[in-house]
């Protein structure tokens, strides 16, 4: 109890002993955390968008009118066995025509579908995929069937997803690079803040060691001071996020309208926890580096 009081008190005093330095590192940490939060949000948004699109991704294999039912069922079974495929639906010639009629009733501009006696539409297999990354491969495999008498043509439309995946990849790579640099800056500032705090208390530290305080007793106040910088930085960053979230959401609403992306009900809580956890980790890490190098011996 007394230990805790001492350690917490020393950490608190340490933070306020040099307020300018502590504030500077708090804001540096806050800036890094904002960046971190931004990447978390963007990553989550893009992920939702990708999975939304993925659920709609279909490959369509058009079938020859001459194909035997057994051949079609055989092909369907083969495609279904692919782990990247979530379902395969057989659309008969009649189904296709019925769909076209339905569509034309909804869309007056297309005009009525006239009965021309024969059904020109081919039967098809509609393939839903589990993951968009695999669409190219599955499409290639289906294309290989063209010419064997069953499949006449394969249509895939994964360009949107491909682009989105590229954005995600670029963003996470660039994000990691930028975040990494910011992290280094934040660490550097914390290490220096704690170094100054250690210097300010060097007499006290010397006596502590000489009267038999353990190394942890000497170190903990500084590590907590680092975590305090992290916690304050997290508070500043989260407050800024809150303040900005309204206008930013409004600005994004157009984008969100096109892609009805939900970040999930618990996302705000997870984001706050992630930011705070990361902040404490960075604060404690920076302080530990500092304390280890400046309290050696």
């Amino acid at each position: 109890m007394t230990r805790l009081t001492y350690i917490l008190g020393a950490a608190w005093q340490g933070f306020w002993r040099n307020p300018v330095m502590s504030m500077a590192s708090t804001f540096t940490v806050a800036l890094m955390l904002l960046l971190f939060a931004f990447f978390l949000i963007a990553d989550r948004g893009l992920q939702s968008a990708v999975s939304l699109l993925e659920s709609k991704v279909e490959l369509v294999g058009y079938l020859s009118d001459d194909a035997a039912v057994s051949e079609i069922l055989d092909l369907k079974a083969r495609i279904e066995r692919d782990p990247a495929v979530s379902s395969v639906t057989y659309v008969s010639k009649d189904d296709a025509l019925a769909r076209l009629r339905e569509l034309s009733e909804q869309r007056a501009d297309l005009g009525p579908v006239e009965d021309i006696g024969v059904n020109p539409l081919p039967a098809s297999l509609e393939v839903k995929l589990r993951s968009a990354q695999e669409s190219r491969r599955v499409a290639e495999e289906m294309r290989a069937e063209v010419g064997s008498g069953v499949v006449t043509d394969v249509v895939d439309n994964p360009q949107v997803v491909d682009k989105l995946l590229t954005i995600t990849r670029v963003l996470s790579f660039g994000g990691f690079a930028v975040l990494g640099m910011m992290l280094l800056v934040a660490l550097f500032v914390i290490v220096n803040t704690i170094r100054i705090a250690v210097h300010a208390r060097r007499d006290e530290i010397e006596i502590m060691k000489l009267v038999g305080a353990t190394n942890w007793f000497v170190r903990w106040p500084f590590i907590l001071e680092g975590m305090l910088v992290g916690a304050f930085g997290a508070a500043v960053a989260l407050a800024a996020l809150m303040a900005a979230s309204g206008p930013v959401t409004n600005a994004l609403i157009g984008f969100l309208d096109i892609l009805p992306v939900s970040l999930g009900p618990n996302f705000i809580g997870q984001l706050a926890a992630g930011v705070l956890g990361f902040a404490l980790l960075v604060g404690a890490g920076g302080a530990t580096i500092s304390v280890r190098t400046h309290l050696a011996k």
Binding site: I207, M208, V211, G212, A213, N215
Partner: protein
């Protein structure tokens, strides 16, 4: 000076500082529990260095330093705090914290070694009473006389109830009356069971007390007498 129940024993100990100075050479010294020992010798003879070896503030270059059964040079870093709690040191320069009161300076040793509120209060009051500083408890070091600062430093060393009390030049720059008060205090501490080692230049007190005297000269023990005088 038997081997079996030595509280402190140095065997063939030398200390060479990184700059090349030999502060101690081939020291053989055995101190039993309950002894009262003066270490004398001119400035630079190695008295403070000897003290530093006892709490592993410095490591010996050669030989073995054993305190209360533990090899000081070989102990793991984790054991050092426990050694230092057993050996209370009054430093030549006091090492008081200027921003803390007398009470806080004395309590500091207990606080940073993780003691509870009640122990801290009771033991600090006891130590302050022992050195006669209870009325000065709220003063800051700069508001104290030299002798009072000295007694604060002694109280801080005693508050941990150490087995060994090492006082480095505890009467330097003090008037004769204050000097005697400090010495009487250290004798009382010794009578209560603590082993006391005093490094001093003060011939008068050494000659008056007739206790064991270890005479250092250029890092060597040139004399070790049971009821010695300052000079041979």
């Amino acid at each position: 000076m038997g081997k079996g129940n030595d509280l402190i024993s140095l065997e063939d100990v030398s200390k060479r500082y990184p700059n090349g100075t030999y502060a101690l050479r081939d020291i053989d010294l055995h101190i039993e529990a309950g002894e009262f020992v003066f270490a004398v010798g001119s400035s630079g003879a190695g008295k403070s260095t000897l003290n530093r070896l006892l709490i592993r503030e410095e490591l010996s270059t050669n030989g073995r330093v054993v305190v209360d059964g533990q090899d000081v040079g070989r102990m793991t870093p984790g054991k050092v705090p426990h050694l230092r709690r057993k050996v209370g040191i009054v430093f030549q320069d006091f090492k008081l914290l200027q921003t803390k009161t007398v009470y806080e300076n004395v309590a500091f040793a207990l606080v940073v070694t993780g003691h509870g509120h009640r122990v801290i209060r009771e033991e600090t009051e006891r130590a302050l009473a022992l050195v006669g500083l209870t009325p000065r408890r709220r003063h800051f070091p700069r508001e104290l006389s030299g002798g009072e600062q000295q007694r604060t430093a002694i109280a801080r060393a005693l508050v941990m109830r150490p087995k060994i009390l090492v006082a480095d030049e505890p009467t330097g720059n003090l008037d004769p009356v204050t000097t005697w008060e400090i010495i009487k205090l250290l004798v009382r501490v010794n009578e209560m069971g603590t082993t006391v080692l005093i490094a001093t230049h003060n011939a008068e007190i050494v000659n008056a007390l007739r206790r064991r005297v270890i005479h250092l000269d250029h890092g060597r023990i040139i004399r070790d007498e049971r009821e010695g005088l300052y000079a041979a």
